[in-house]
Amino acid sequence: MAKQLMSGNEAFARGAYEYGVRVAAAYPGTPSTEILENIAKYKDTIYSQWSPNEKVSLEVGIGASFGGSRALVAMKHVGLNVAADPLMTVTYSGVRAGLVIISADDPGMHSSQNEQDNRFFAKFAKIPLLEPSNSQEAKDMVGTALEISEQFDTPVLVRSTTRISHSLSLVELNEPIKAPIKPYEKDEKKYVMVPAYARQRRVIIEDRLRKLEEYSETTPLNRVEMNDTSIGVITSGVSYQYAKEALPNASILKLGFSYPLPKKKIEEFAKQVDVLYVIEELDPFMEEQIRAMGIAVKGKDVLPNIGELSVQIIRQKILGESIANLEAAATVAEKLSEQPTPGRPPVLCPGCPHRGVFFTLKKMKLVVSGDIGCYTLGSLPPLSAMDTTICMGYSIGGAHGMELANPDLKGKTVAVIGDSTFLHTGVNGLMDIVYNGGQTTTLILDNRITAMTGQQENPASGKTLMGDAATEVDIALLCKSLGVKRVFKAKPFELQELQNLIKEELAVNEPSVIIVEHPCIFVDDNKYEPVKINENCTTCTSCMRIGCPAIVKKGNKIEINQNLCYGCDLCIQLCHFDAIVKCSDKGGC
């Protein structure tokens, strides 16, 4: 069959197709987003969907499995925190058709708020853990995970990381197998987890773990590559690739199935080598368990537990090598640092509807309880108008808590959240405020899409992952139904009106919601006219306070890059000298 260059995420999707998955669900999140985006391409055989959050997507996956179809659920590492509730009990009920959960960690936090090591979830939930080390394995392991799931009656966790999900390597394509739908069978003792039944399942779980340990000893996913025995390495995931390249002569025990660990295999391997290292990214997950077996290993005493590993780190820390190229690089870096390189921080796009909101909040000197999405960028200069960001859906509950804690913050605090994030878990916080008599003013920045991960649809956007039309959630009606009496709509580019409305609502002693509506520039079909600077400009730089990438100061002059300008007209509103005008005004651009 043909070989194709695929990212790990494309390969996971291909695996779902080849190994008979019929239902797949996720909430988008880097680095996992493309798994479902690619599964959607196989819509002739796989039903796929974006769910409002990861808990729901796992519930859909569990239901599909109980209903008899192979199912796959994908999420980023922090998403599994949201889905942890159903996870911890589906481990009790087990599955019917295979159920695979892909969790994508982000070592180095390229685009995440934390760096948690989700392998612990496998141990926590007492379910098997698979760790692919390239795209081919990503594809193959979807199949193996489904088989393990069905054979041992358990959900299976597959841990990806940014370098697995987002690096491309060659994958051999195969024809899809046939996985028939299993006929439905009622079995309340297995699928109804009331205490009497759950207690019986609890015993089964421990028995299952023992069987999985035996499987771990014999599966080809765990293989020894015997070489020189002076250094032995136990490793998994992308760390295997780093180890193989850094220590080409070492003997390696590669664990593709890394929970539960193959105790005998590890003991046997340990006996054959002089020094044993555990090379794993982030936490000492395998290392601690191997130590607990009474086996002496080196690991986090020499290797970092923060950030990504690399070939160089392993060579330096394990071989104690001084690396000539690295030293040369350090010299270059030192000389170049004489002239510092400014960072290139992410910015709100030109024309982004969030910009006017944050400009207004800053101007009003408000405390802003923020959330996760493009609008988190409102925390960066020059807008610098966000005080907190914790997790998806935090902002509304967080603002309520702040106001409860400190009377000074009442009437000066707002919660800011996006449409997708509001539907993800923000809605719960709003319900809480209404129920408990809070007064928080919540701004829902509705740009009609899940923007930051690359414009995915959501329950309010009117379209599904597979491209079908969908009923849009009416966010205003939803808020009213929760009991919010004061629900208003505003436009982000009409600064004065927006400010007046926020001011009014902050003064009111009851909860308010202001839905600030304007589509993300990537989904907005309207054409807007760009602007230009005329001779009235005094270079006062007032227009630059909004941090628009299209407005640049060149020497003594302000210039507008018309290729970037979207025509939102915020800068026109900020100019006191009528120096910014539409391009059609006198002579064009």
Binding site: V311, A329, K335, P342, V347, K553
Partner: protein, 191 residues
């Protein structure tokens, strides 16, 4: 065994860095090499840093390139080339497009855009070439083809036949833009 080639492509979102990497990967596949490519996109949809790492050889393990290990760096923007120069092997080559895109701290006036970037890298004894890719691409019909001009320039340095490059271009670029991109590639190749 043939030598492993480490190539770093750095630029700013919207410059076609990822497309160029896909092109280069296709070339590697068509030349019967093993290839791994790793990409990190900035968090914003537009204007963030984009870095892709390409490793080409007989049997590639790690998908990433460490500091001081890149045989070639192709920078689609001057300052990004400067920022990543420490990844260059002492005997490697860095090719920098003369295009400058100011990041927000410079736009806001709280930082300066580094000056005389090419000269500074040159005085460190590194092999640096500056390419006015934007101008060449504009002459071919669109500034968007600057990435392909640079790939043409890179192609000339690598031990892979030109026909393979052109063949890969045909697979990657949509028909209606193909002629223009072929021209941009050729102009880069002739530099």
């Amino acid at each position: 065994m043939r030598q492993t080639l480490n190539i770093l492509l750095v630029g700013v979102g919207g410059q076609g860095t990822i497309l160029a990497s896909k092109f280069m990967s296709q070339v590697a596949i068509d030349a019967a090499y093993d290839v791994k490519m790793s990409e990190i996109k900035g968090m914003s949809q537009r204007g963030g840093s984009v870095v892709t790492q390409l490793r080409i050889g007989d049997d590639i393990a790690s998908p990433t390139i460490d500091k001081g290990e890149a045989d070639y760096i192709v920078a689609f923007e001057q300052m990004e080339g400067y920022r990543w120069a420490e990844f260059l092997k002492p005997d490697g080559k860095i090719m920098i497009s003369e295009q400058q895109i100011e990041p927000m701290p410079v736009i806001m006036g709280v930082a300066d855009y580094p000056s005389e970037i090419i000269e500074k890298i040159d005085t460190l004894g590194l092999d640096v070439a500056s390419v006015d890719a934007l101008k060449i691409a504009t002459e071919c019909g669109t500034p968007k083809a600057a990435n392909i001009v640079l790939m043409g320039y890179l192609a000339k340095q690598l031990p892979i036949a030109k026909e393979i490059w052109v063949g890969a271009l045909e697979k990657i670029i949509p028909e209606r833009f193909l002629e223009l991109n072929k021209q941009a590639f050729e102009k880069g190749y002739q530099l």
